[in-house]
């Protein structure tokens, strides 16, 4: 559906994207992740021709985006819906008119039915005649989604779609996006700096830093077996206790975590303290994460035990090493 190879983009002499390559399959939810200024949004805008690029290729639905112009480019853009962090709705228009806008531009038929179907889909049918300025952030993003879907696109581009929303609203928007992905077989490319979003929705991801690819692969692999760059990005919020070795354990649903960890203590006859633990959602799956500290002298035996039992883990850098 989307193939990007060796993409380079610069503003003047400053190169903002260096040699980016990835591809997105039909029906997939693909995440482009990174800190602010990493070039994520610029990369997204290269996909639908809002930003030109200098070298490499961006092929969307079989067409090289950089070579399209005028009507051809606009017809491609029609197939690529886009939603934005700040919603970008027309403040003077009501909900209905905002959603109808793309349809009016393209002279579509049966606009009224289409708009009402879309408003039903995003749960705003009863707000059709309200001014968008009177809506909450989550409702505005729902209008944005309805508008992006108006022209029946095959691909939906999301630029930090949930970054301006509170966690609960953000969560409902993510559910909506997941529903749309399944029910409409829509390919979604999400740009975000929120790891929660990626874990929850994306099947694969591209991690960008300073315009360079630092990680690319399936979300599960990258989170369970993180490369050092990835580890930097997903650093835990737990305070690591100095002294001893801190280990981050991952438990797929199939492993009963209670017994594993207590059995380990019994088998090895060693103590450990629990630093923290949580459940994380990766797509439809739930993983347990447990962070423990073991005394230095037992670290090797614990690692050996974990290796033998095929439990994914990482040793976290301790505070002493940092200092």
């Amino acid at each position: 559906m989307i193939t990007v190879s060796h993409l380079r983009k610069s503003y003047g002499s400053k190169e903002v994207l260096h040699d980016i390559s990835f591809s997105v399959a039909k029906g997939e939810i693909f995440g482009i992740v990174g800190h602010s200024g990493a070039g994520k949004s610029t990369l997204l805008r290269c996909l639908n021709g809002l930003e030109p690029y200098q070298a490499g290729s961006v092929v969307v639905k079989g067409a090289e985006v950089g070579r399209l112009s005028g009507g051809d480019l606009r017809r491609l853009q029609k197939d690529l819906g886009m939603i934005f962090q700040n919603f970008n709705l027309m403040a003077r228009k009501n909900v209905y008119d905002n959603v109808a806008f793309p349809l009016v531009l393209w002279g579509a038929n049966a606009i009224h039915d289409r708009v009402m179907t879309l408003l039903d889909l995003v749960g705003l049918a009863n707000k059709a005649k309200q001014r968008v300025t009177s809506l909450s952030g989550g409702q505005k993003q729902r209008v944005g989604i309805a508008r992006a879907l108006a022209l029946n696109p095959e691909i939906l581009l999301c630029d930090e779609a949930t970054s301006a929303l509170d966690p609960k609203t953000s969560s409902s928007i993510l559910d909506l996006l997941a529903d749309i992905n399944k029910s409409l077989h829509l390919t979604i490319v999400m740009v975000t700096h929120q790891m929660e979003v990626v874990k929850r929705l994306c099947s694969s991801l591209l991690l960008l830093d300073g315009g360079q690819t630092v990680a690319l692969g399936s979300t599960e692999d990258l989170f369970l077996h993180p490369t050092p760059a990835m580890q930097n990005f997903v650093s835990d919020e737990f305070t690591i206790i100095p002294g001893g070795v801190t280990i981050r354990l991952h438990f797929p649903r199939t492993i009963a975590k209670q017994s594993i960890i207590t059995r380990m203590a019994r088998t090895l006859d060693c103590d450990f303290s629990i630093v923290g633990g949580k459940l994380e959602r990766y797509g439809d799956d739930v993983f347990g994460v447990l962070i423990i500290t073991v005394p230095k002298e037992n670290a090797d035996r614990v690692q050996e035990y974990l290796d033998n039992n095929h439990i994914p883990y990482q040793i976290l850098p301790s505070k002493e090493n940092d200092a």
């Binding site: 934005f84 403040a91 793309p102 531009l105 022209l151």
Partner: protein, 225 residues
């Protein structure tokens, strides 16, 4: 009525037809020059927002020329412009005297100001909304007609008041060199013939016009917003 007012009242009644005529002349000068300068200025502003380096289809070279011309025309003192373009005025309306002739220099003076003000209104439109329109394949003209103009409309309406009131002031100047209107009346009677009361009437009417223009535009702004 107190005795001292009687002669004033008599003279007001006496001069009423002239005052009315001057009022209508001023109104027609202001209305037509506002209309024409809005049309020409808006077209210029559209051209500028397209070619602006941060515009819809940047053409920095073209923009620099437009920008320079607008600045140049705006830097002319109106009274000089009025005289300098007399040949052009003759060419357009066939004469350089009268209210109709005054509309030409008034329009020429106001159009660049309109262009600048409306360009600013366009620049104030949320860039994100424009980007959203582009993201679903709107053409440049669709963006101008369906996004920029409607979104900027309330701000444009407020600027119409600025333009119309500026033109009301200019029209008094145009009046003194043969354009007629209230400014001309005030100068002829009040200054040249020491009939201060007639000048006061003219000024009162001008004040009322300013208040009405601003009031109407403020009202429209509230409705449109």
């Amino acid at each position: 009525m107190p005795d001292f007012l009687t002669p004033l009242w008599t003279r007001f009644c006496d001069k009423f037809p002239e005052i009315l005529e001057a009022t209508l002349e001023t109104l027609s000068m202001v209305c037509f020059s506002t209309l024409f300068s809005m049309l020409i200025g808006t077209l210029l502003a559209i051209w500028m927002i397209i070619t602006n380096p941060i515009g819809l289809n940047p053409k920095p070279g073209v923009y620099r020329v437009l920008d320079f011309v607008v600045n140049l025309l705006r830097s002319f003192p109106f009274i000089i412009l009025l005289i300098a373009i007399i040949p052009f005025t003759r060419f357009v309306v066939g004469t350089s005297i009268g209210s109709a002739a005054a509309i030409v220099p008034l329009t020429v003076a106001a159009a660049p100001l309109v262009a600048r003000l409306i360009e600013t209104c366009f620049l104030e439109v949320d860039r994100g909304v424009i980007e959203a329109a582009r993201s679903f394949g709107a053409s440049t003209w669709q963006i101008i007609v369906r996004v920029l103009l409607p979104e900027a409309l309330p701000a444009i309406v407020l600027n119409v008041a600025v333009i119309a009131i500026t033109l009301l002031g200019y029209s008094a100047m145009a009046g003194t060199v043969g354009g007629g209107g209230l400014g001309d009346l005030a100068v002829r009677y009040g200054y040249n013939r020491f009939q201060v009361d007639i000048m006061v009437y003219s000024v009162i009417i001008l004040c009322i016009m300013v208040l009405c223009i601003q009031g109407i535009c403020n009202f429209l702004y509230k409705v449109l917003r």
